[in-house]
Amino acid sequence: MIHSLFLINCSGDIFLEKHWKSVVSQSVCDYFFEAQEKAADVENVPPVISTPHHYLISIYRDKLFFVSVIQTEVPPLFVIEFLHRVADTFQDYFGECSEAAIKDNVVIVYELLEEMLDNGFPLATESNILKELIKPPTILRSVVNSITGSSNVGDTLPTGQLSNIPWRRAGVKYTNNEAYFDVVEEIDAIIDKSGATVFAEIQGVIDACIKLSGMPDLSLSFMNPRLLDDVSFHPCIRFKRWESERVLSFIPPDGNFRLISYRVSSQNLVAIPVYVKHSISFKENSSAGRFDITIGPKQNMGKTIEGITVTVHMPKVVLNMNLTPTQGSYTFDPVTKVLTWDVGKITPQKLPSLKGLVNLQSGAPKPEENPSLNIQFRIQQLAISGLKVNRLDMYGEKYKPFKGVKYVTKAGKFQVRT
């Protein structure tokens, strides 16, 4: 299925290659580079490229391209998902999925790739199982290893692979039994010039961290399950039970995993927690413009909005910006023309604003379009859709687990047009 994998960095060096069937020459990547050149911007390389003998399916993650070589017809989503899984695994193992991290751990990378695919077919991809086969590097372990000479490869086979429930290993034991759930919601929205919502939607996930002994059978219920109109589930969830009772009933995998992801679409009202007042203008035939934006809270349910960052891609003719923020700090990169304003949190008494002058290239025509503002923020202890966990019950085991639920709302692709 997947013949070979090439890892390519932003400057076009192939710094790692792995072949599962016959060796495919590096020159196949030339087609990729060609497409990259044509696309002008690195990010615009199309994910599927055909060459006379192969197809190249690539993903772009953290400034790296994962280019897979395919020789037969495959479902494209399958390959794309798998490549993302590879990148996720690297991230999981090395803390970041960067060229430096991969080069430093090249041996582990090869071991992982060897276990994840055989003859081009995905084998072990669950992080739980992989970690039993190949232990992730830690500073402590590498010190210990260098003293004792022991390795970071498990000497025994993963036990979980033979249990009746494929996602959970048998004989788990903890001294503290804990079950934590994180409800994370991201707001994707486009706000138009006048502040009206063009499009808004909430993408939510519930991530779980379960450390429970034995074979616990959990059921999680919500105060308002009707909110979830479009949900996808971890394989452990009993679908029939959800359909009939709207209760999540499952035997959890051990450790961290994503329980469900859901979407609350624009049909239900999506609250927009911030507003932006802006006036950006460029004068005709002059080399200056004005820039003035203010951010304020709106529909924030009484919670503090924090971690606000505003990013603006200014037009090409902008040379420099002289701005004064009332709060936080700003940077403008004259090469990429990106303005970043790190605001921090909003205090309603004094709204943060950023105003000043824009220097334009003299003689150039004034930009036709005002730039869009990209906004990041975070609200703790609030799920903006109003989703609330009602209770968690455990069956099948005798002990009393410690339970906890945390809510957080973040901005996803949150864009304000000006």
Binding site: M1, V107, N119, F121, G154, P235
Partner: protein, 739 residues
Amino acid sequence: MPYLGSEDVVKELKKALCNPHIQADRLRYRNIIQRVIRHMTQGLDMSGVFMEMVKASATVDIVQKKLVYLYMCTYAPLKPDLALLAINTLCKDCSDPNPMVRGLALRSMCSLRMPGVQEYIQQPILNGLRDKASYVRRVAVLGCAKMHNLHGDSEVDGALVNELYSLLRDQDPIVVVNCLRSLEEILKQEGGVVINKPIAHHLLNRMSKLDQWGQAEVLTFLLRYQPHSEEELFDILNLLDSLLKSSSPGVVMGATKLFLILAKKFPHVQTDVLMRIKGTLLAACSSESRELCFAALCHVRQILHSLPGHFSSHYKKFFCSYSEPHYIKLQKVEVLCELVNDENVQQVLDELRGYCTDVSADFAQAAVFAIGGIARTYTDQCVQILTELLGLRQEHITTVVVQTFRDLIWLCPQCTEAVCQALPGCEENIQDSEGKQALIWLLGVHGERIPNAPYVLEDFVENVKSETFPAVKMELLTALLRLFLSRPAECQDMLGRLLYYCIEEEKDMGVRDRGLFYYRLLLVGIDQVKRILCSPKSDPSLGLLEDQAERPVNSWASDFNTLMPVYGKARWAAISKCQGAERRGPELPNTASFTTSGPLIPEENKETAQELSDSGALMLVPNCQVTAEYFEKTWLSLEVAHQQVLPWQGAVHPDTLQMALQVVNIQTIAMSRAGTQPWKAYLSAQDDTGCLFLTELLLEPENAEMQISVKQNEARTETLNSFISVLEAVIGTIGDIKS
């Protein structure tokens, strides 16, 4: 560290590997081996230390073993004689008490990829198939496929295949999936693994135990299975139901495809499934992974071909945010184009209008073409926007707007007036060949309505010497000659100059020949010129057929979740041909660009138009003259040969219907006015053998169906059936135009 060439590195490492002191120190030994591997992965030729590495494989350290095996697999094809030495160690490891070591050794041995290794690996593989550790069985099962590949095209080992088929019952789910993968490769010549009823049901029952990759692959294998009864079919669909809600989009798409294929005789089930995965698709469309998003968008477009209104209420999902990569934006714009309906047209157009001023010229142009596409249905609004865009006086925008106008005026003659008013002045902002051609064509064909047309063309004639594109000169010749026919006084002089230039001075043969041709044509006389040049100025029926070519789900179900939707059908055919027939074939140009330049008629639709006009063996004669009286007489004297009911939504547009029927040579004898209830129409057609078809259409709005009764003057079922299919196609096409 000083730079060392690969030879020096090899020498140094070789020395280190041979050093007994280092060999005694496990840690240092392993570090040296890691260095070898690191160099290998960077592309340095490390085959020089093969001998030493083989020695290093005899160790208890499992990491070291892994590294050495990795090394061997890379260089074995280069050093086959030395690699044979390693086989012995590998064979020994295959019976190690630790299952990890056994699996590792077996996997490495199967991946050696050198000739002659088969005889050594056969026995270990057979042992591996019966190993008690599932880890080893997984490796062994795939090893069978690798072994088969090493043999080349030799015969299939029947015993091995049987063994693999029996392992499909293995308790480990990955072994089961690997068996399928392996069998598929071994039996490639014979059409792959056979899925019969017991296997299919076994796999369906194990489905929930598989991981997402396994599920996705088993779903593709199950496509081969044909259920024997309807009951079985619905049982299977029930079993698969939960997969439609899987968290992996790949599995959801795989399951959807299986549903679509299995339920090919149940259109309502298909529609229902597409309804249910709407959410998943939409979620994938806004997923964090841009590649996933792209693939999902391609599939959305595919679904829209059959269910045009499917995503209409979610049109805002397809608004572009400016940070998205190009290929996604282009797809989104195309999707938006197809989602337009009466309620959202204003919002969509406002949004597209915004994209037209995007910094990226390509994207801006795509947005303009998209507005042009929508203009076929919502002409006035779009023409107004396009006219405003001309006011921006931007070169890249003006040229595409003019091209859009050219295409639009051909399909929608009603906008001629508006376009002609918008055109003056835009010649200053057009520099490229395509744009100039479009402008010149418009000036030539509709010149009589544009007061300053001759003067604009005159500018082009003045500058013809510095014109670089021959195509522009050709277009100019034709346009000027056409304009000459309608406004001779203003054009005669410059036409003479242009012809003189083309014949005497022009270097390009094509242009010169065209000039000579027109010159001689003019000599023959003005009537001849008119006969040849005054072709129709528009052809609305073309747009009608193109826009509404709604395809049944079954026509693309088998392409769903393959690479085909990502490429588009025409391009896919070209690539497969290039890949299949001629491996060294020339590379396709532009395989990677997804830009759509909005051609007048896309290839595939041309085919549809063709099919419509000559389906089957039936040849309807154009201009069959049947008077109303004759029709009435014949109608009353004949029996109804065929009666059928087709679904029909909303009111009828008699003109549209009449035009469409005209295209396939069916004449309208009489028709009720729009809005009458019940609505009736009488049609007649004649084929080349003289057989007459008389048809009555009866629409009763409360039933939302159109009743068709056909009478035939000679009873011949074949031709009757083909006639009905033609009629059905036309009515089906028109039927869903949303009023």
